[in-house]
Subunit: 308 residues, 4 copies
């Protein structure tokens, strides 16, 4: 008999065949410790109900999924024009941390907000007298968007991010050198690294997906959390750039606006249908959760979720 | 009162404000002669009815819109695996005729079938003893997909394409040098240039859009022209790569799977809704029809067509 | 009648025809203030005599000419193998501050010690507990190599360098991210920026050229300041990489191992013949002193100095 | 006792320690057949006497050494300005057949005449009604420059070059697309491939080196074969770009204007001293003859030949 719960169970089962493949992110020592046998699949429907199978309470860090939260926060404070004066909207086909285009593109703007350079540029649009105050805005918003008032960042991972963040420092200084951004680079990176370190679980990211699926309106309580135009912007960027240099193949195989993070999470937002969260920290060479991709593929096929 | 015809009229009016801006493609002498005051908007619904405003009978060459026809033809003959052994599916953010990634990407495969290198690689998958026979497959299929049994290529434009096609020759020889393709380069390019030179009108490309919107089934007669899996492949690639290095912004502003050509046409396919054709030969610096983009934006907003 | 003094006078006259062309470096505010009417030409022969015409006592900062001093210092402390584990020896054809190759080259090492990234990597080879101690080694050595025990760095320029040094910070963090260098980036850059800010005059740089011309032996006093093998290394790198992306043309037109700086100086070392210094702060678009190039061309022709 | 013959014998002995390392060029099937145990060292002094050790009569194809002959021929017919309107003079640090810079450099000119793209551009400057007539100019000049009136090209190698020359075709079409060159690409490549296939021996290339060392005057007979200004141009380009992306290290370790070819030859020209030829078809990964490099290093040290 069809039920959402059964569907998720099947997606979990299908994904679990890939357990044992891939490896956790190794460039941040804290992430390398993750248990690659953990797997979870969650769906939050537009009535606000969350269904899960597997380790859906296991906490992990958002990593690049936080790029969506940073973008939503920046759009809220600086508006569309403010944000996109500093970052473009084009997919690149480059790895997430590439520096080449900052030099070769005539505008010097990073290509889009879903790669590291772009997310750092986005972060500089979030106002505040101190990095603490600025991250406060992100945290407060994240607590609403993920429906967890206790949400916080993981101090150990944050320290590890910061210690190994030289490439992000390079990206930030390149952008300041070409006047795409201004202000104190270490402060911007404090906010950015803390956002990457936000500790979440699979159910919470499925809720974020559901907010985006529901045109920005919380499926629990009905409050408008993101304005509809910004939702369209975010969903289109997730569709074209959300999975690094796998975005094109994900569009073809899954066809759902989504964002992955090297912490092992993938968050999907199916417009007017549902939010999806998956978690498994074993990554493929492009930095996407291997079992998460499998689960997404299953759900897209089984529930006919592809936009294309 | 709402009617499809009124909507198109409004889209036409909105687009016509941009008449006079932009310029026709100048790198192919024949194209530079186009009358930049010509403008047309057509919609074909899934019942096969076509509504038009403006110069919808004016003939122009498909140019890059033919990449969709070439891809459909190649998928039909060589299947998904056959085609995508020679070309990737990732957007690049590069101009349509860039050669850099053929050298820097480890696979040496062109990034996707919507840029020149990729479409040439796709062309090599179309079988036949002679270029004439091979182009015959393309032409026959194009006649069905655009519902015009008289469809043919424009000899003047073909000659002009061929004379000025050195960059495409360079792309082809680079790919043969790295064994991505094999066979006689001049023969592949004959097929490719003839496909680019297919002479169509705005109504016909809206019909092609409608076939893709209707999951491959002809809205006139009900014959399955493209198998559904191939339709999904084509629509996802149009969504992430269809407008060159403007694809990301088009997704954000319009959100319709579409393909533009430097001949001045844009073809859109709104899944389960309609096919759209626009025509005006004045291009923006990225090679997309300026008034066509305006018309697409209007229709997307007015009819709520964005997938995102 | 031939005399060295007359030759220099003619070189000065020939160069002075280009006074008024070019512009001072503008990316460092302090440098933009330079008086572009200042011009000097100096030659130090291998008996230690210095001949000058023009503003040869005018002080300016070494900028990239200090790359030679940094390399000599690093070779002295870390030896050939120590230094060239962190930097290559190939010319690049790229501008002096390009970051692309740090990403695309398989080794991630900067291409050579005559571009910014390479000189920063070289700087990390200079030992010391503090940046002060480390720069002390550079300063002490520079005083000997330029034969001025009072030599020091310009505090205003140093502050200006440091404030506008974001691109160099980006280069340094990129190299630390790929483990080409280690240690504290701000400390390395303090040493590097202070070296760039070393305040010299035209006669002094001609003396440095004479030391290099004389196989490392001071033409005043006869002390071996640089060991002969290191001199060969430095002179060959000056020949292939000393004038940024003008190095090939300089080899063809002048043919002298030389190093230019955006402060307006050019230092040349003609093996077994003489050292040459020129100074004029108006630069061509590639960052080389315009009148300096003219003077070098004249001297190369008149005295038959080209190695090629 | 010192004698030139003894020196060469020692150089041969030193080089022979590397026999067995490296591999012949494999991208041209004919070259892959070469016997990697063949080794020869020849010196031609400025009195026209040639001294040799080893397989100095063994014939091999010039390959990239012909770039020097092509450049000399083009300079003779089109002059400095004619040639360098189509090609630059800067080293690149890229492999010999790279296409990237043809796209990224603002001028679209190839970087220098010592890489494939540059040599093809140079070839287009050689006049004639037919490729046969044009290659005739090259052949006639090569016979004089290498002092062998019987010199001809190897038909087997030429056919092999032509069959596998797709990357060179790509380079040529790229340059014609950006209007750096004009004319029929297949005709230019016929001349270029035939020049690459010129069959020579080690003694003959040492004679070519001696002509260049002797400022263009034949050391046998005293005829001026290349005008002195052109000799300077050629020697400086050999110095900065003659050994592909090993040119910088060769300057440092050997310091002689030289040109290598993947046929296994290296030709050196020590100004006012001698010409050197080496031959061994086993190449290092950068395409230079491994034993040839060893022999050059030995001679440079033993005879103090480095310019730097």
């Amino acid at each position: 008999m069809f039920s959402m719960q059964n569907m998720i169970k099947e997606a979990y089962r299908y994904a679990s065949y890939s357990l044992g493949e891939g490896a956790p992110a190794d460039y941040i020592p804290e992430l390398a410790k993750a248990d690659t046998k953990r797997l979870a699949v969650s769906i939050t429907d537009l009535a606000g109900r969350t269904h899960s199978v597997g380790d859906s309470q296991e906490r992990f860090t958002m990593q690049s999924i936080s790029k969506v939260v940073l973008l939503a926060t920046a759009l809220r404070f600086a508006g569309f024009d403010g944000v996109f004066a500093r970052v473009g909207v084009e997919p690149t086909g480059d790895p997430f941390n590439s520096i080449i285009r900052l030099e070769t593109d005539s505008s010097n703007r990073p290509s889009n907000p879903m790669i590291n350079a772009g997310a750092i540029a986005v972060t500089t649009c979030i106002p505040g007298a101190t990095p603490g105050e600025r991250f406060g805005h992100v945290l407060e918003y994240a607590r609403a968007l993920l429906d967890n008032p206790e949400l916080d960042y993981d101090k150990e991972v944050y320290r590890s991010e910061s210690e190994t963040g030289d490439r992000n420092r390079a990206l930030a200084y390149m952008m300041r050198a070409s006047k795409v951004i201004d202000g104190a680079v270490p402060e911007h990176l404090e906010v950015y690294f803390k956002a990457c370190s936000l500790s979440v679980n699979c159910e919470e990211i499925s809720f974020l997906g559901a907010v985006l699926a529901n045109n920005g309106i919380s499926p629990r309580g009905g409050k408008m959390l993101i304005e509809p135009f910004h939702v369209k912007v975010i969903r289109s960027l997730m569709s074209t750039c959300g999975l690094y240099d796998y975005s094109g193949e994900f569009a073809l195989r899954v066809g759902i606006p989504a964002k992955s993070g090297v912490g092992g999470g993938i968050m999907g937002a199916v417009p007017s249908r549902m939010g999806i969260g998956t978690y498994c920290p074993a990554l493929d060479p492009k930095g996407n959760s291997l079992c998460g991709l499998r689960a997404m593929e299953y759900l897209s096929q089984a529930l006919n979720l592809s936009l294309f």
